[in-house]
């Protein structure tokens, strides 16, 4: 069936198999390999994209349900040649090794920076907490990194966090 969605600002109309996930649509049909398939079960976060500005696992979203939605992938974070501040900070802090979880970490961090409210480690839940390293660790724990770059991921995000 046909759906129309906006990907990184560009409107695309595609015929999709109802079994196709948003992740496979991006990777196998639209040529956008940035979102990665690490587990296909919403367990690793490598496929994290922004759907209407909120971070989500693209492997858990069916493509047919994305009609009319706006998707931002890691390919859409930079403005032309200018890297997104998170992308630049990840390079500066050596916040990745193999790079396979990196697009998901970046999209997740970009979404996380705009999310208000407390987390499981917030003291006073009535006040929006500062993004301390502890808050960042908690809020980024849906994105696994097997190379073990967490220490640098946290310092990269902390540099960009307000």
């Amino acid at each position: 069936m046909d759906i129309t969605l906006k990907v990184n600002g560009v409107s695309r109309t595609v015929a999709v198999d109802p079994r196709t996930s948003l992740l496979d649509l991006l990777r196998e049909r639209l040529g956008l390999i940035g979102a990665k398939k690490g587990c296909d079960h919403g367990q690793c976060g490598a496929c994290t994209v922004l759907i209407d500005g909120r971070r989500a696992n693209a492997c858990l979203a069916l493509a047919v349900a994305m009609d009319g939605r706006e998707i931002t992938t890691v390919e859409g974070l930079a403005q032309g040649d200018d890297l997104h501040p998170l992308q630049a900070a990840f390079i500066e802090h050596d916040a990745f090794q193999c790079g396979y979880c990196t697009p998901g970490q970046l999209c997740s961090a970009a979404g996380m920076l705009g999310e208000p409210g407390p987390s499981a480690v917030t003291g006073d839940i009535l006040v929006d907490p500062d993004l301390t390293p502890e808050e960042i660790r908690e809020r980024m724990s849906g994105n696994l990194c097997r190379c073990g770059a967490y220490v640098n991921i946290v310092s990269a995000i902390a540099e960009v966090a307000p």
Partner: protein, 676 residues
């Protein structure tokens, strides 16, 4: 120096194996055995072949042609015998991923099932002594009289530790994309830690001359050993592409990876140690019990690190292996050193406690003059300096050695230390350096699996040429480049870097191009014991109510020759220590004794460390000037970080609680079973 491929990785443009745009690509999806032992009676593919978009079905009903050399896990569909639950027994090829997956599900496989045996036990009647352990160490060694040493000891420990099945779980699932050309030449985009060796293995498995096979792995999403040997997906993609007459892509699912991409063998390890009243070892006896499959013998070298660690008049190491109806274990980050040093360094801590000696002091008192088993001099050895520097940084002198006394509300707090080691090896490699319009192109069939090889080799070449790094371009990850060994055994940079330096030297003579082959140079290396050493320090908080263990501090101090690049090195050390924290506290694959195969075959059940599990881990190193290694003076650093970490954490849990957990991982139920 920032990673040279940093920009393509953060913008999502780096191409991993399954991501090359190929016209007309099709998809393969495998079928796995539902029994652990038996024979495939019948494969009925009729329903699958009638489904939309299906191009081919492969199985043992019509075995695809492979060379007679094809063996073990790569001899796909050549036999009706099933060696383990999860083994690949068929595959469907279709125009889309969705159609291939549905077709694979519709293939009916019937089995004649036999009784399986999947349980490793230290009293298994099938245990035997392997000829060699990975890769070519003697299985057993013995020096001096162990029983006399134990009899003469003032204090002894006799302890047994177990480690579970562990899975490498790189973030990028194993994948391959295969294309045949009209002349019968094969191109495979593979997730390979070494394209030269992968090309050779694919060629010999398919019976092709190796000039007809090209393997490309420009970016590899982690491997940790699991992509160091050629895995079935590469052969399956080639067979499927031949059957379908189209390019074929296969990306294993996370669940399939648990079965067919290798794992660390479970181990049962018995340690018997004795010390005299001065704290000097009188005996060290280390025996490891491990498993392999009925397809191939893989014997992990678990007791081998005990041969280099401590001075003792009596030293015995032994390995016993049993062949079970399980998948073949393989390399996982620091095979041998990682599980072996977990047990040895835990036992040393137990011995220190039993003898009333500080655990650092015990290790210092048993520092050997030469390698304990071989008697060879060390090219350099700075274990004691690592322990001392770590103690200073960690505040070890403020530690009360009595266990179970620091308590903050529900939390019991403790600290622990362990030593680490890893061999510093180099293998022959080739390289070519060419000057082009004032820039330098470095070509070597190395791999960058996240270690930063591109960046390290850029720095090495720039140094050897005496030019700025931005004038150097490194090309790797392609078997058409000068032949190079695998990214494994912490020997990549040492091996490739030696060849790159020699090629740069040749270019400086020739002016435009330099080629090198270090085969002769490596052969002439003096006989010495070459090892990196380190020490890990951990502080844990153990919750008396929930049994949760939280890591609050983790420090590693390493002596690994000259560090080629401090940014990459710090990341490698911390990454290894992070994986060691997972081994200590959460990682475990269960074997399904009733049905065979593994349980917990995904990342929701096989827990790897997440961001919130790690504190601000610190890794530092000592300057080490060792002229007996390679032109860079470097020792490999990819694996030593994981070695020692699990023992340091386990020792800290003992210090916090006063109890030993000798079976990894140290999970809440095991803590709550203690009485404190």
């Amino acid at each position: 120096m920032n990673r040279v491929e940093g920009r393509v990785k953060v913008t999502g443009l780096a191409t991993y194996a399954a991501e090359y745009p190929v016209e007309g690509v099709t998809y393969a999806y495998p079928v796995q055995s539902r029994v652990a032992k038996g024979r495939v009676r019948r494969v009925d593919a009729s329903a699958a072949l009638a489904m939309p978009g299906v191009l081919a079905v492969l199985s043992c009903e019509d075995p695809p042609r492979l060379a007679t050399e094809a063996e073990g896990e790569l001899a796909l569909f050549q036999s009706r015998d099933v060696a383990y639950r999860g083994q690949l027994v068929a595959a469907a090829v279709a125009d889309t991923y969705e159609n291939a997956r549905a077709a694979a599900d519709a293939i009916v496989v019937e089995y004649d099932q036999d009784v399986h045996d999947v349980s490793l036990r230290a009293d298994h009647p099938g245990l035997y002594r392997p000829e060699v352990v990975n890769p070519a160490f003697p299985s057993d060694t013995e020096k001096g009289d162990i029983e006399a040493g134990l009899d003469a000891a003032e204090t002894t420990v006799d302890v047994t530790y177990t480690t579970p099945v562990l899975h490498n779980n790189p973030m990028e699932p194993h994948a391959a994309l295969a294309l045949w050309d009209e002349e019968g030449r094969l191109l495979v985009y593979d997730t390979a830690q070494g394209t030269s060796s992968s090309r050779d293995m694919i060629a010999s498995t398919l019976g092709l001359p190796k000039e007809h096979v090209r393997v490309v792995s420009r970016h590899v999403g982690g491997g940790f050993g699991s992509k160091g040997t050629t895995r079935p997906q590469a052969v399956l993609a080639a067979l499927a592409a031949r059957a379908a007459g189209r390019p074929v892509k296969i990306a294993l699912t996370r669940q399939q990876m648990f079965d067919v991409t290798g794992y660390r063998t479970p181990t049962i390890q018995r340690l018997r140690l004795g010390v005299d009243s001065d704290g000097r070892l009188t005996a060290l006896d280390h025996t490891a019990y491990e498993q392999s499959s009925t397809l191939e013998e893989f014997a992990e070298q678990t007791a081998v690190p005990a041969r280099v660690m401590y001075a003792t008049p009596a030293l015995r190491t032994a390995h016993r292996l049993v062949r079970l109806d399980v998948a073949t274990p393989s390399w996982m980050r620091a095979p041998g050193e990682c599980p072996g040093m977990y047990a040895l360094e835990s036992a040393m801590d137990e011995l220190a406690f039993a003898a009333g000696i500080d655990p650092i002091e015990l290790r210092v008192r048993n520092e050997p003059e030469t390698a304990p088993d071989s008697g060879l001099p060390f090219s350099s050895r700075n274990l004691v300096a690592c322990l001392r520097e770590g103690a200073r940084r960690f505040g070890w002198d403020r530690r009360d050695p009595a266990p179970g006394i620091v308590r903050e509300g529900e939390w019991m707090v403790g600290t622990g230390v362990a030593a680490s080691t890893y061999p510093a090896v180099r293998r022959p490699s080739r390289a070519r350096v060419t000057m082009r319009e004032g820039d330098f192109l470095v070509q070597v069939a190395a791999a960058d699996i996240g270690t930063g090889s591109r960046t390290a080799l850029t720095a090495i070449a720039a140094g050897a040429l005496g030019v700025a790094p931005d004038r150097v371009h490194v090309e790797l990850g392609d078997s058409d480049l000068p032949e190079a060994p695998v990214a494994g055994g912490s020997m990549g940079t040492a091996s490739w870097g030696s060849a790159v330096v020699r090629a740069c030297e040749a270019l400086k003579v020739n002016g435009t191009e330099g080629v090198a082959d270090t085969t002769d140079e490596v052969k002439q290396d003096a006989r010495l014991a070459r090892h990196a050493f380190g020490a890990q320090f951990a502080e844990v908080r153990v919750n008396a109510v929930t049994g949760e263990v939280r890591l609050s501090r983790l420090l590693g101090v390493f002596a690994a020759g000259r560090i080629v690049d401090p940014v990459l090195a710090r990341s490698q050390f911390i990454g290894g220590m992070t994986m060691g924290a997972g081994m200590a506290l959460m990682e475990e694959t269960l074997t399904d004794e009733e049905f065979g195969g593994f349980l917990r075959r995904d990342l929701a059940q096989y827990h790897v460390p997440a961001c919130a599990d790690l504190p601000d881990v610190e890794a530092v190193w000592l300057d080490e000037d060792d002229g007996e290694l390679n032109p860079m003076g470097s020792k490999g650093i990819g694996e030593i970080g994981i070695v020692g970490t699990a023992a340091a954490i386990g020792n800290a849990v003992h210090h916090a609680t006063g109890h030993r957990v000798r079976d990894l991982p140290i999970t809440p139920p095991k803590i709550l079973a203690l009485r404190f």
